[in-house]
């Protein structure tokens, strides 16, 4: 029944998810500034807010609010204005299925990971709209690059997820976490382990590479490559419209890390903690795992140079997709034929 309770439930969950998304995105923005600068022997933000420059993301947001909102003359104004809506809405919609504890999940859809892949690929549309509508050469090139890159890496991402689905036997994210919590027997010893340690290491590597590419982060940031395309599809955006793309990007980073944590690292679950304790500590465990993965993504950024456009396509089509396909077959073989 759709009753008042249903709406109250939905509204509370929307508010919680918004707070989680914006809060963690702000932390990720600050972490990026600080982690990057320490990796490069700089101090990084120092003044805003007093200690450690903790208020830097807020200061940035305040600065962007005061900037003039420009729409370039030749631009397709409607499409130009609509693009950030699609990017942010699609990213926020991924938070529907991410389980923060056994009970703290907006909706545990049966389609789970399939829904995630579908919704997160909507951002491609927003990016392409932004690139096309700006009527700017940099934006157009950036948008096309982004489209080519996002579709190429969509496939290894999906196939890495398929490998997990085969092992778990379900697409629901809560189901996948429970499959990891279920004990397995190795040589008479009954133990439960996350999928990363029970045969999904190849899928995890593929998933992380593909998700860094999906997020257009270094070493896969050709769509926004500052030194060649200024900012790619973001070139003409200013003021809070730009900030919304920015927020969407970091929120996507959080949601990708959350998905990776749930699929491969056990999500809200860790070994040796009772089911009831998970109800309370689940969110913190998941956030710890997300932070670990976000740190890893920042670390990659500080380490590798940018790939060339053809190397990027080559890597997806020649290496990642065949490996991901074979990986699915190997895991299915072990699941169906051996065990």
């Amino acid at each position: 029944m759709i009753t008042g309770w249903f709406w109250a439930d939905v509204i509370v969950k929307v508010i919680l998810a918004l707070a989680a998304m914006i809060g963690m995105a702000l932390v990720a923005i600050y972490a990026e500034l600080k982690v990057m600068s320490h990796m490069q022997h700089r101090i990084g933000p120092y003044y805003a807010g007093g200690r450690w420059g903790w208020a830097q993301p807020f200061a940035d947001a305040l600065k962007f609010i005061q900037k003039e909102d420009l729409v370039p003359e030749g631009a397709d104004s409607t499409v130009f204005r609509a693009a950030p809506y699609i990017v942010v809405a699609a990213t926020f919609a991924t938070f529907v299925v991410i389980p923060f504890s056994p009970s703290l999940v907006a909706r545990d859809l049966d389609l789970g990971v399939f829904y995630l892949l579908a919704v997160s690929s909507l951002t491609t549309l927003g990016v392409l709209m932004a690139g096309w509508s700006s009527a700017n050469k940099y934006s157009l090139m950036g948008g096309l690059r982004a489209a080519g890159q996002l579709i190429a890496y969509e496939l290894p991402l999906a196939l890495a997820v398929v490998a997990v689905v085969v092992q778990a036997g379900t697409m629901s994210l809560v189901g996948i976490v429970e499959a990891q919590a279920a004990p397995i027997t190795i040589g008479g010893l009954s133990i439960s382990l996350p999928f990363l340690l029970t045969g999904q290491i190849v899928s995890f590597v593929i998933f992380m590479v593909a998700s860094v590419a999906e997020l257009s982060r270094i070493p896969f940031d050709m769509p926004i490559a500052e030194s060649e395309l200024t900012m790619g599809y973001l070139t003409e955006y200013s003021s809070l419209r730009f900030t919304m793309f920015f927020l969407g990007e970091y929120a996507a980073m959080i949601s990708m890390s959350a998905i990776a944590a749930t699929l491969f690292l056990g999500g809200y679950w860790i070994p040796f903690v009772s089911e009831t304790a998970l109800l309370y500590f689940g969110p913190f465990i998941l956030i710890a795992k997300i932070s670990l993965l976000v740190f890893f993504i920042l670390w990659i950024r500080a380490t590798w140079p940018r790939l060339r456009e053809d190397q990027l396509q080559d890597m997806a089509w020649r290496w990642l997709i065949p490996i991901a396909l074979l990986n699915v077959l190997v895991i299915a073989f072990f699941k169906v034929v051996v065990f």
């Binding site: 900037k67 420009l70 700017n136 050469k137 190429a152 900030t243």
Partner: protein, 127 residues
């Protein structure tokens, strides 16, 4: 059952809507707070500081259309492979595991042949 299904996707719709509302709220705030002094110069497309040459929608070489075609094939494959992945448990329980596995293996290998063909044709070579 139907109500739960409806409720699930209603939630998705509410999430999509509130994501859009967040953007709307931000942009309306900016509209109120930010200054607005439009000028012709500000509205010209950015080309690293020089006057823009030609239009923004110049013809440009699109190398990606082949990838788009390849993507279509593999994405359809992904759609086929998901139901299979979920139902392996069931087929195993009725003793048909190996058969189902080899069927999917044949499907995947045929697709891999297609990919190898595309690579040998030089889709990935950029001159």
């Amino acid at each position: 059952m139907r109500n739960q299904y409806f409720g699930d996707y209603m939630t998705v719709a509410v999430f999509l809507l509130s994501g859009a509302l967040l953007v709307a709220a931000a942009i309306i705030t900016a509209r109120i707070v930010a200054p607005r002094r439009p000028s012709r110069l500000k509205a010209t497309p950015y080309e690293s500081g020089i006057e823009p040459i030609g239009g923004g929608w110049n013809q440009s070489h699109i190398r990606y259309y082949v990838f788009a075609l390849l993507f279509l094939i593999f994405d359809v494959e992904a759609v086929f492979i998901f139901p299979w992945a979920v139902s392996t448990d069931y087929f195993k329980s009725i003793g048909n595991g190996a058969l189902v596995f080899f069927e999917m293996a044949a499907f995947v290998l045929i697709l891999l042949l297609g990919l190898i063909y595309a690579i040998r044709k030089g889709v990935l070579r950029w001159e």
